[in-house]
């Protein structure tokens, strides 16, 4: 039996442990690569010590990568938890709804049509708009109180459309090398990212996260259904728009610099429920931290796993995420099979 007091304490312990894990992984991430550095050397180089080469490696090559890994992992975990809270549905997540795929299409369109340089704000801007449109259309198509099956079918349709549209844009692209470049970028990677990428993505991610976190208590009222939430004084229509906006800003900003990295938003809240409980409001922060842990760990793994060419981190998260998704489907089989809302 968990009394609220101990539940609170347990949540604090989990959050502290996750923060510690994030810090350790960030340090490891700064030390891993062609030139291996010990944590001491990393800390030294980070604060201006060590050789010039070490400082450049840590501060200019690996630090942006680590920062993006943390921020993107966190916003994906947070977006997943927020969507699951909004829809009262444990299978909701940005990638199953086609949000990253649509954001990628927006970004590719801007690149392929030559409207923008890869390092201008037009890129995340287009990604955010496309992500917003995709989630908005999805929720319109699925309707209020949509069941699992409806949401997932609508998500499948939207991600297929976004994928096809992206392929078309690459098809029509005049430069075959640009197309290849885009194809690799779509796989999702944090490699060779600079501080320019950080400044490009971070404002969007930060605003998106702030919007989602500001709505946290409203998610709890939604546990009782939309009508009851409304009777408790929650403007449900406005809440929906804010969540879509927050997810679109975060996912759009993330995809614009790192490509499509999937399944973190689905997995992170699930890992936290056994430890924190099901309260959608209290899951947001732990899910964000778990997302950061997962993505930075995956990004370390792609650098450690021996292979002839480098593995993209987006590929790795999907390879781990999809079997997990299958496991969740098995667990939710009754609800899916029955088609109940």
């Amino acid at each position: 039996m968990v009394t609220p007091g101990t539940a609170d304490r347990q949540r604090t312990i989990v959050i502290v442990a996750l923060c510690a894990a994030v810090t350790v992984l960030a340090l490891v991430s700064l030390g891993v690569g062609p030139v291996k550095l010990s944590p001491v050397a990393v800390l030294d180089a980070l604060f201006g010590g060590g050789s010039e080469v070490q400082r450049i490696i840590v501060q200019e090559i690996r630090l942006p990568r680590a920062i993006l890994g943390l921020a993107i992992g966190a916003i994906l975990g947070l977006s997943g938890a927020a969507l699951q809270g909004l829809l009262r549905n444990p299978l909701a997540s940005p990638s199953l709804f086609g949000a990253p795929q649509s954001a990628a299409f927006g970004a590719v369109l801007v690149i392929a049509t030559g409207l923008a340089d890869v390092r201008s704000y037009a890129l995340p801007g287009a990604a955010v708009v496309a992500a917003f449109a995709s989630v908005f259309v999805l929720l319109m198509v699925a309707g209020r109180n949509a069941g699992l099956l409806l949401l997932i079918l609508a998500g499948l349709a939207i991600s297929s459309l976004a994928g096809a549209a992206t392929s078309l844009a690459m098809n029509l692209s005049s430069n075959p090398f640009a197309a290849l470049e885009i194809a690799f970028w779509l796989l999702g990677s944090l490699e060779d990212r600079s501080f320019q990428h950080v400044t490009l993505a971070l404002p969007f991610i930060a605003v998106g996260a702030a919007i989602l976190l500001s709505q946290r208590h409203a998610f709890r009222t939604l546990s009782l259904g939309e009508e009851t939430a409304q009777s408790l004084g929650v403007n449900v229509g406005r809440l929906r728009l804010l969540v879509i906006l927050g997810v679109a800003l975060g996912v759009g900003g993330a995809v614009a610099v790192a490509g499509a990295i999937g399944f973190i938003g689905l997995v992170a809240p699930h890992l936290m429920r056994p430890l924190i409980g099901y309260d959608p409001a209290r899951l947001l922060v732990p899910s964000a931290l778990t997302g950061a842990v997962l993505l930075v760990a995956a990004d370390i793994a792609v650098r450690i796993i021996p292979s002839t060419s480098d593995i993209k981190v987006g590929v790795l998260t999907s390879i781990i995420g999809v079997p997990f998704f299958l496991y969740l489907i098995v667990r939710e089989r009754r609800a899916l099979g029955g088609g109940v809302a």
């Binding site: 609220p4 208590h217 546990s223 009782l224 009508e227 009851t228 309260d279 209290r282």
Partner: protein, 260 residues
């Protein structure tokens, strides 16, 4: 009755799509009354409850505690109406205590883990009234149907609103829990609330309500004390049933008996 009326509707109509669900409903309901809203399936009972709470757009006017409903902000409405929907679904296995604490959300107590002493006291009063204090830390999804309905009832009592609207709170409960829920609502009315209950059970309506509203095809066809509002003729017209009637301990007993 109108001098103490706290919920007044005049010429209320609701259209959903092209369909007229409610037309020209006028009523004035007072504090300390338990009002039963009855009518055949599809008569518009739930729609009327939702419209009164401002959860549906409607034509006509609604006043609650002297203020026009549209003039009230969403949060202020939520403080005046406690609304218990049918089926009281809960999507996540939250502790019962947190569900009850959501009743304080309209009062600004958004976090059940951090209630002010005033909000915590209201939650405790509500949980005592429905006898669910011992269930506080259990997950609602693990509770029996009867226990869950008491938790749901505690949630609306915790709002401590002047008006409580309950949609079929006795549906799918065994007789003992039906009586328990109605007794709780009766006590809430005696303590000063206006309680409006949608029910299909004419017997419970006659036994517990001060006023019965009979709805048929979106119109209010009769209202008043049970013995008048649910007269033999009206029940035969509206529900197509004949009733058995008796008086027991000075209360009216009405039992649907046979088809007309």
């Amino acid at each position: 009755m109108s001098e103490a009326a706290i919920l007044v509707a005049s010429s209320l109509s609701v259209n959903l799509g092209n369909r007229v669900v409610l037309s020209d409903i006028s009523l004035a309901l007072s504090s300390k009354h338990l009002v039963a809203l009855v009518g055949p399936n599809g008569a518009g009972k739930t729609t009327l409850l939702r419209a009164l709470a401002g959860l549906l757009p409607s034509e006509g006017t609604i006043e609650v505690c002297g203020d026009a409903l549209p003039s009230l902000a969403l949060q202020e409405r939520a403080r005046r109406f406690a609304y218990l929907p049918q089926g009281h679904q809960v999507h996540w296995p939250l502790p019962a205590k947190d569900i009850v604490a959501l009743g304080r959300y309209p009062h600004g107590a958004v976090d059940p883990a951090r209630l002010s002493p005033k909000d915590a006291a209201a939650v405790m009063r509500a949980m005592q009234a429905t006898d669910v204090v011992a269930l506080g830390d259990r997950r609602v999804t693990e509770l029996s149907g009867g226990e869950r309905s008491r938790v749901a009832l505690a949630r609306v009592l915790a709002v401590e609103a002047p008006v409580l609207l309950a949609d079929e709170p006795t549906a799918s409960l065994d007789p003992r829990y039906q009586i328990e829920v109605m007794t709780n609502l009766r006590t809430a009315a005696d303590n000063g609330m206006l309680v409006v209950v949608v029910t299909h059970d004419l017997g419970l309506a006659a036994r517990f309500a001060d006023v019965v509203l009979v709805l048929a095809d979106g119109r209010l066809v009769s209202q008043g004390p049970a013995a008048d509002a649910l007269s033999e003729n009206i029940v035969a017209d509206v529900f197509r049933v004949r009733t058995y009637r008796a008086d027991y301990q000075r209360e009216t007993i009405i039992v649907p008996w046979a088809e007309v």
